[in-house]
Amino acid sequence: MSTDDGIDPNRALKPLRTTSREFYVLLGLFALGTLVFLEAWGHQLIHGVGAVTGIGDWGISAGVPWGLYIGGFVWWIGVAHGGIAISAAVRVISIDRYRPIARIAEILTVLALGMAALSIVLSMGRPDRVFNTIYHWPFTVHHSPLAWDIAVISLYLVLTITYMTLSLRAEIVRLRDRLPKWYGPLYTLLTLGYRDQEDEKVEQILWWLAVAILALVPLLSGGVVPWLFSLIAAQPAWYGAAAGAAMLTESITSALAIVVIVSAVFRYAYGWDDIITDRIFKDLAIVLAFLALATIWFTMHDVLTGYYIAPTNIAALTEGLLGLEFFWLAVAGLVVSVIVLFAMMGWPERFFNVPLLVAVSALLAVTILNKKVMFVVEGLMYPTQPPLTNLYPTGTYSPTAVEWVLFLGTIMFVGLGYLVVSKVIPMVELETEEIERMDDPSVEPEIERPDTATDASPEVTD
């Protein structure tokens, strides 16, 4: 059933009604992963961040104080943006075409922001004191970019969750008897005080919420987060006005890439080929193509300004950057992605297919992660200005196994989060008219397509 006629709620509610074997396998794997994560984190808490990670003090110790955790933090903030931004765009610009992926994208935002916060806690020397940052906020907000960060990330999270829960109210009230019984108390809580009359106002409130959230995207991912770095005169690799725009572009790229991946997984798992259509993916591919191209463009700026008769210390750090194999891996990742994506755009019959798009998206997401970690680490390897740059040794950094486990754990938690949430709320946003048509006897019920996810051997759909 094409989206022009609306989404069939029976199909959309499938995750809430059936659970496949694959789901339980994944759940088991993620539960195991969680145990590994907790063990590694416990190890880090007991022995201290300084002892178990590759983190060190810059200066005479030639260390790098911010590494994979902080790079991961910046990456997760970026990923968080694409999610709700798609959802908000659907509402504000009324592009109903993307509504099938809107809720999946919203949940990505919430999970990614949570992982961003977790990444910060992982990097702290005394995470048990994390509340100090809240307690002192009224004073530190005056001058600390970190305090601004805390505020804006919390604001974004609150607005996103409010958006999600408000939009769920009408849906859940109408779907109540088709939803799993054991979440009853939660549904009651979510729909507390619901009246039909609120629907129109809620729509208006949601519209303004979407506008505010969209406006906050450049202010968070292209504002407060880059400012953490770009305001610091002591780190010339970071300092300056260009970081904001570059980071925003990279952020949206990685965000859309992950939305593509997660949407494709849901489409495959529940046979939603006609709900999350090829059209949606083709459109996302086009946007990704241009964003990846823009990312290359910003990288070019970085290299050229650092290479052409640059101040001594800037020249040194650019030379260092160009000597890093990670840099060339990132460039290759971007170039390959751009080529494939433009091919998909230009000759869709020959080149476009969802699995390839998912692969390119994964490549882009990892490439952006690489770039963000490099930005953080490489900048700190070549800190400050002459004469201290030349009097201090150049820093080195290599993440330890603990760092990898904890960082990869955050990715796993997003997966786990999706597993859990998909069993509680509808993953496809349903409109009131669609839901009411479910019970309308004049409408022929759709014959359900074969259950690809509950079959022992799922077909690969195209």
Binding site: G48, V49, G50, A51, I55, D57, W58, G59, I60, S61, A62, P65, W66, I120, S123, M124, G125, R126, P127, R129, V130, N132, T133, Y135, H136, F139, T140, H143, S144, P145, L146, A147, I150, I232, A233, A234, Q235, T312, N313, L380, P383, T384, Q385, P386, P387, L388, T389, N390, L391, Y392, P393
Partner: protein, 405 residues
């Protein structure tokens, strides 16, 4: 590289007259005036004139001779609330401002251009860099240091003394002694520079701290870390251009240092002294436990207030710790060459602040040539390992002094 630091004969000495004539021979200004002023200057405060009287006595003659009177005694007169004319550059004279000042100040007060001239570079404005109150001079004190790199012999005792006093971790050096090779006026030059926390007036570390753990004390300007509040986010380390911050790892140096037997509390009742505990950030505290020993019963001898461990340990008096706002403090006197430990030409030497253009307003003034962008670290006359301490992560290409340099 080292000057011989020969002291001039004192005025009572018969050789003094001759010596003054000799020193002032190259100077084109009135030698007799210089001699008379020098004699009177020596007697200020004893049986001679007061500073204000001295200033007034010679102001007409000085203005007639040089066209301007910028002597340091001007402050004493200003304190009387009198107006001073706007300083003018002398007309039609080929003399540089520096020469004017050096001749005018007299042998007694400012020393003379001449011996040790390899370190003399023109002072940027009127007078040495930091012998002026800070731009935001307040009645409060502003603790700082003068580090005379021309006297430093890289014995590393400052590093060792600090480690003994504060029990810092292995590899952590609150004052670190850079030993480097540089080029100075076309010649190879080996320099030593001791880098502490600069206790800046505009410390970027305090601005970025998300918990107010890193703060600057209002009454003396010392920048401290509250070890109970700090969450170990390391933003202070990231924001500091000087590289003075270290994350506490609880890895004490066994060979040097023992647990501080003083209470860590500062006078504002926050634990700020000594090495940071595990997981929080720390740096040079200007031995705050000594500074606060009078106010807080922390087990430190109150006599030590006003000193730092590194200053105490330095065998050649490189470090002068004190109030940069007070013109009579040890560091300020040192910069004018008036301090008993100051070689006589100190005021003529290059005086600078490290990374001044970054804007943090550091309060450590260095005396000596500033290392350039081409300065390369070398192993100095003594290695940190020789003293049971771990050096920074250096891979010294140079040889040790004496190894056929």
């Amino acid at each position: 590289m080292m000057h011989d630091g020969q002291l001039p004969p004192s005025p009572g000495d018969p050789a003094w007259d001759e010596w003054v004539e000799e020193q002032l021979a190259d100077v084109e200004f009135d030698t007799e005036l210089g001699k008379r002023m020098a004699e009177d200057a020596r007697r200020i405060g004893d049986d001679g004139p007061t500073r204000a009287e001295f200033h007034d006595r010679y102001s007409d003659a000085v203005e007639a001779e040089f066209g301007v009177d910028e002597r340091p005694t001007k402050e004493a007169v200003e304190a009387d609330g009198r107006d001073e004319p706007t300083p003018k550059v002398p007309d039609g004279r080929p003399a540089s401002r520096r020469k004017v000042l050096s001749a005018m100040g007299g042998v007694a007060a400012l020393g003379v251009a001449g011996a040790g001239s390899e370190f003399v570079t023109p002072a940027p404005e009127a007078g040495p860099v930091a012998d002026t109150p800070s731009p935001e001079a307040t009645p409060d004190r502003r603790m700082g240091m003068v580090v005379d790199t021309t006297q430093c012999i890289a014995c590393l005792q400052c590093s060792e003394a600090c480690k003994e006093e504060n029990d810092t971790d292995v590899g952590v050096h609150w004052p670190y002694v850079f030993r480097y090779e540089d080029e100075l006026e076309g010649e190879r030059h080996e320099g030593y520079l001791t880098r502490h926390c600069q206790h800046c007036s505009e410390p970027s570390c305090t601005f970025v701290c998300p918990t107010q753990a890193r703060y600057q004390r209002g009454d003396d300007g010392i920048v401290l870390t509250d070890y109970e509040t700090c969450v170990g986010c390391k933003y202070c380390q990231v924001a500091c251009p000087y590289g003075v911050n270290y994350l506490g790892k609880d890895q004490p140096n066994e060979a040097v240092g023992e647990p501080g037997e003083y209470d860590r509390k500062g006078r504002d009742d926050r634990p700020v002294a000594g090495t940071p505990p595990k997981g929080v950030m720390g740096k040079c505290t200007f031995c705050v436990h000594r500074q606060d020993a009078e106010a807080v019963d922390n087990g430190v001898d109150p006599e030590k207030a006003g000193t730092t461990a590194c200053e105490e340990a330095c065998p050649v008096d490189v470090i002068q710790f004190g109030d940069m706002n007070d013109p009579d403090s040890a560091p300020r006197q040192y910069l004018r060459g008036e301090h008993e430990d100051a070689p006589s030409e100190t005021a003529e030497k290059n005086q600078y602040k490290l990374l001044d253009e970054v804007g943090n307003e550091p309060n450590v003034v260095f005396v000596g040539p500033e290392p350039s962008k081409d300065a390369t670290p070398i192993q100095g006359p003594r290695a940190y390992e020789d003293m049971g301490m771990q050096d920074g992560d250096y891979d010294y290409a140079g040889t040790r002094e004496g190894d056929g340099q």
